[in-house]
Point group: C2
Chain length 558, copies 2
Amino acid sequence: MEKSFTPNWINQAPVPGSFRSIFKYGDPNGFKHPNKKLYEELKNHFQLTDDDFIEKESTGNELVDIRQKPELSNEQINFFIKLCGAENVSAKEYERLKFSTGKTLEEALLLRQGKIEKITDLVVHPRNKKEIAEMVKYCNTEKIPVYVYGGGSSVNLGFYPEKGGITLVLSTHLNKITEFNELNQTVKVQAGMMGPEFEHALNNADKLYHAKHKYTCGHFPQSFEYSSVGGWFVTLGSGQQSSYYGDAGNLVLAVEMISPSGAIITKDYPAMATGPKILDIIKGSEGIFGIIVELTWKIYRYMPENRQYFSFIFPTWQSAVAAAREISQGEFGMPAVFRISDPEETHHGLKLYGIEDTIFDKIMSFRGFKPMQRCLFLGTADGEKNFAKNIKKQVRKICKKHGAMYLTAYPVKKWEPGRYRDPYLREDLMDYGIIIDTLETSVKWDNLHQIHEQCRAYVKSRPDTICMTHASHFYPQGTNLYFIFIMKESDRAAYLKFQRGLIDEIEKSGGSLSHHHGIGRMIKQWMPKHLGDNQVDVLRALKRHFDPNDIMNPGALI
Amino acid sequence: MEKSFTPNWINQAPVPGSFRSIFKYGDPNGFKHPNKKLYEELKNHFQLTDDDFIEKESTGNELVDIRQKPELSNEQINFFIKLCGAENVSAKEYERLKFSTGKTLEEALLLRQGKIEKITDLVVHPRNKKEIAEMVKYCNTEKIPVYVYGGGSSVNLGFYPEKGGITLVLSTHLNKITEFNELNQTVKVQAGMMGPEFEHALNNADKLYHAKHKYTCGHFPQSFEYSSVGGWFVTLGSGQQSSYYGDAGNLVLAVEMISPSGAIITKDYPAMATGPKILDIIKGSEGIFGIIVELTWKIYRYMPENRQYFSFIFPTWQSAVAAAREISQGEFGMPAVFRISDPEETHHGLKLYGIEDTIFDKIMSFRGFKPMQRCLFLGTADGEKNFAKNIKKQVRKICKKHGAMYLTAYPVKKWEPGRYRDPYLREDLMDYGIIIDTLETSVKWDNLHQIHEQCRAYVKSRPDTICMTHASHFYPQGTNLYFIFIMKESDRAAYLKFQRGLIDEIEKSGGSLSHHHGIGRMIKQWMPKHLGDNQVDVLRALKRHFDPNDIMNPGALI
């Protein structure tokens, strides 16, 4: 009887107007509850019983009931109302909290307790870039800070309105493709367009734009469904197929930015030698120089019919890394999805993707691929048919050489449809006082193992903490490491101490402060040590140039 | 008898100490005289006879005999002598002229007449980066301008010492690979290392560094033999195989730069999301921010055994461009050499590469590929064997679809060995008052034809002017256009007027001011109009930050 117990995972949309409706990830009606295997594993790991999953620790389903007047004068508020229309301006506390909140664990921990810190003074939904230019000008004169809310998926307090001011929501109106250029294989897209709408339009370019072909944007971060094109670019994001398509920074050909020092429309040539590229100077600026209003995005042919799928199991992490390096340096083109999991992630992944206890599992075990040593590799290849097939062929050859067993397309095909859904697990776990969070870093082949070992040792030094790691963005010179940790913890201060320790460890072990999440406010204190003062000074000089009054996302990045 | 006349092309190294020894391109003993066909064509085109090629107009073989004291105090000169050793400092006029001179046509025209303009005050050959740091510090205090001479191949007055000061020659001592990292597939290389030595070391990595494989730098500009690694990077150069290997800016992972505001060593992760990348801010800065002393270069496997060769003839320029676009957007990997010539360049190319009057020529003509309409395509593919073979296969399919005839590997194999030698033609022609020069631009697919037509119309509006164009660096979004023009002209002012008119035309027709030659001093006056003041202001702000006293290559770029 006890065996069949399933926690009463919340399966309803959050109460409208509640804290949960703000911090819950993604679709209010979207859920991904831990499956049986994961649930058993969690109980086992944290020495819990079913009894611990009867009563929820917190749900955050309480209504947001706060009173906090905007720290703006009526005259100022009226300026925005007059400019953008009353229907596009809100001073309501709920709205202001909603558009001040990203997706960090620390925000969720706070909101679950019904607590809030700083919220924005006014939420404005600009209708066009002219209104944005007017607002930036006005805010510069009045010294009103300006934050931009794209999809709200920041995991580092990227738009947290720490100094008050106004928050612009770009997805409400600036969410369209304004130009489709099949000859150049580019589109102009407004910064607030969300991933699914963008990709849908490109996939249907034949119908929507009378194009000869269908297209894809090539950028599929885990936050794809709840992040905006502009956000992808300003944070230097990377998608799950970045090894083939490139990172967001590479996928953008030109941008239009409005800053206090004026508007900038960068040139859209595929290459040029006219000094340092202003586009590059803006890439990754996280809103501190100005507001990206429009982007010229490089599109690719959408050819799912050519896609190749492949999965492997390696005897060890060392062999998986060695094979991944050989593939990345093999000069036969790169896989699109390209992901290797370390032993602990493989252990959980085999459960999550339904491999455990299948025929695969039996063969693996029979062949000596031992649990907590073996490592999973998931891959796909895109592009022209022969090109994609040859990638699969070469990958198989290299993996075999490194002792791997071919697991067919099955595991990666199991992984693919659920790949945007993992964040939904967070709410279920936190309802019972278990937290799941991530940090990530760039590594080179020659320091990958050291960073992996050192950071894992740090995480594992906390008792009963799960630490899963994968590498999922590959380059000939290295890759990234993505750490996922799960622990029993509800105390925000204790968690933050742990998190800071891990950032310290990443930095000390030689990793980058971020591969693709950006810096925001969570990691910025490490920037001078990491880059050196001389380099941070360059960013400061640019900041002074673009935004002398420090009104653009003040406090972020540097 | 007249038929067998050959001009008495100079076939000896320039007189030591002469102006010619300074302006002659490349190897003093290197020559590429116009072949019979080209000579006949030139006579024909410019309505000349053999008589016009009896007496040379100028040779520049006169000795440099100028007196110009350095505008530096003895105390200042002694500082450099004390720091770098007397053997590494020269105030001799010949040396100072030599290291002040690049490879523009306007410099050659001037020197042929024994005239000089500004020359540097002192030539210094630093022995290490510590000495460079000391000098930059001292020069900043003393407000002495600093120019850097890499390989001296600038075609836009990139290091012309317009304000006097000192010129640092990096190739004398800073010319080594300091670290070979096979795991990361990177090398650290000093900025003054020249192309051939760099490539030779990488090709022999198995012997020199006990590497498992041989490697290549992937960057082969026409100036390869007489340009330095640092120069490739600061000017944002592109090599003849850039469509596969990437432009110089993409081939560099990290740099060390010494500027008046301090030293910067950028991070060498393959990707990172820690704000705008300082490396990108330095890319293409042409020495105005500081001196690049060392670079981390991404190397590739050297596998000439896998190289595929292919050549085609297209019925028209339109069909060649359409095929090139389809190849660039085909997602099967990019050819390495990838070059299409317009009808006028094809006309001359078929002569130069020895195709004219061969069996190919007969078949082409028979099949209706008409002179002055037909267009030549030369290509190679590098990388893993199946990958390279598939590129050739897909390219053939696309070219056939666009009406091209396959010309086998022969033309590209004829072109390949002489590809660095074309600049040697210049001296022969100028000896008889004929000049050859180039300008280049980036284009997008949707404005390629307009730019090509408009710029050609401008060049052809000058009577009897040859104008050959090719595209040789391809991206899914566009390519470059490279204009080569030959004319009978010895008057410098008249030539400069023509040249300025063409830069105007490039800009007005929608091309970039440069795809890969950079800006230097020749093109900088167009920068504010081209990029817009707001963008040039960003570069100015960076300049002020790095170099508040304007001592680093003052007057270049902006």
